[in-house]
Assembly symmetry: C2
Homo-oligomer: 311 residues x 2
């Protein structure tokens, strides 16, 4: 199944012509999730030909403008274009107040139901769950309350090898048991071993979004073993004092977190506009964690399968 991340904006603080404010579209198992919604996100969605009425769940990390100022406009467009299906919003409790004061004064009553799910800042919290995946928020260390988000695929059923079905005349009931990893003993004493007739599903993949946060290795307790990690890298390491003061991270620090949590791949983002080019940031991160890429607006990343190391 697909599990991709489209970077809609990876700039810090002020949007520029090079980088929009933070927003990411997660397309997993053909469901669309939006994480953060900086100003201009609706145009970025249009630019990348995303039918934004298909987005039913929007997650907001925190209430700095570059992470949410596009939300009211996106919702307004959803409304004006006649949306009917429910929109779920996940974010800091005060986000609800902000949206309500806007709607009140614009005299707008949305054409669709809105369900608001407040995030907590103290602990990891499952915000969304379905048959194939779950999404949790977890605390980040920023100047104002802020959470990251972790999207985790569920372990899928084993896959039955089709040739065996006809060869052994396996019934639907038997297939369901075998896919769950159970052996089947037939009335005639014949045993169908799940290990023989099924193959293991792919290891579940996961994606963690960590923006904005100061350097914090204790993130491990929330996102240990994550497959792909997006971590902010607002500054280069020669500005780590400024990073600490502003509760942001450097590229090298992002790499240290990736190493600590055992990620397969690291994506750097939330770049200060003082870095029109990201080669330097990428280089310092790769010294610590080789499998690193630097985000750019429009980049589509497939969450990779973890490379198995023979032991």
């Amino acid at each position: 199944m697909n599990f991709s991340v489209t970077i809609l904006g990876c700039g810090a603080a002020t949007p520029t012509l090079l980088r929009n404010s933070t927003a990411q579209l997660i397309n997993t198992h053909d469901k669309l999730f939006l994480i953060d919604c900086g100003e201009g996100t609706q145009l970025q969605l249009r630019k990348h030909k995303v039918r934004f009425q298909r987005i039913n769940h929007i997650f907001i990390s925190h209430l700095h403008g570059d992470h949410y100022l596009g939300l009211m406009g996106l919702m307004s467009s959803m409304h004006l274009l006649g949306r009917k299906s429910k929109l779920h919003l996940y974010g800091p409790p005060a986000l609800k107040d902000i949206l309500e004061v806007n709607m009140k004064h614009s005299g707008t009553s949305m054409s669709f139901p809105l369900e608001f799910h407040p995030t907590q800042f103290g602990e990891k919290q499952t915000m969304y769950e379905d048959a194939t995946l779950s999404i949790a928020s977890f605390p980040l260390q920023h100047r104002i309350p802020c959470t990251g988000f972790l999207i985790t695929e569920k372990l899928r059923d084993r896959k039955i090898i089709k040739d065996f079905i006809t060869e052994h005349d396996i019934s639907l009931r038997e297939i369901l048991k075998l896919k769950k990893g159970e052996d089947v003993t037939r009335e005639n004493g014949e045993v169908l071993l799940t290990d023989a007739v099924t193959i293991l599903p792919q290891e579940p993949k996961s994606y963690a979004f960590c923006s904005d946060t100061k350097f914090d290795l204790s993130l491990k307790k929330y996102i240990n073993g994550v497959t792909m990690l997006y971590h902010e890298a607002t500054f280069a390491d020669d500005m780590k004092e400024r990073a600490e003061y502003t509760f942001h991270s450097t590229a090298r620090q992002a790499a240290k977190v990736a190493l600590e949590v055992g990620a397969e791949k690291l994506v750097l983002g939330h770049f200060s506009s003082r870095y029109p080019k990201t080669e330097g940031l990428l280089e310092e991160a790769r010294e610590v964690f080789a499998n690193t890429v630097a985000a750019w607006d429009g980049l589509v990343l497939n969450v990779p399968q973890r490379v198995k190391v023979e032991k």
Copy 2:
């Protein structure tokens, strides 16, 4: 002196890749005024290489999202880029509440002083005045309280013909009187006629911004004789029932207003996204008012000198 209008966005309701939400930059006598500030305006300013810290006065017509949702982001960028000079905001009283709730929850205290000037909806009101121009708000008829804005140059002094200064040894005190249109009688009985040694200044120009509004010929009492009129033309005339229902205007209606108020030039804008091309709207307006142009994002219009008709 220059008096130009840059269209930063002329789309209605939902921004598209073709047209941004409403915003206009007025550059008059080298002062910059921003009227309306839809989502993405700060990027439009960057795109058109406007140094937005030079903008000290922002006018907001009403609180529909497509007219103000870019304001918080623009102010936030002004703050993050270290602005110190005062910013004057003119708009509906509730705009202050909206900005305050955003600033409160983002923990932002702006780096610059902010002075808020509430608009009234019942009558025309001078909002700004300096030596060269004045800006007034006036009521428009929309679904929520809404005002237009009228920028009017002041009558400048007469211009003295330089050759006369040396020829008649005219003193500074005499020059000042002559420029004001007064004749000067010298001690020796010699009379300097202002009509002889000065030329009349150009007729003051004016610009009216009317978006959003239903068709309303009574606008004449606020903007009679305006030089250049920007009037919304959300729909073509075959949708005038929808225009009336939504408190918008058609292109033909905009032209009727231009004719009624005796404008020199009409600019159509605030186009519904159902019109990717504006030829049809332009054509129906020109049948009523010939000197009409259709706005597009990036268009720079010089407010024209009124063409004198010999009588």
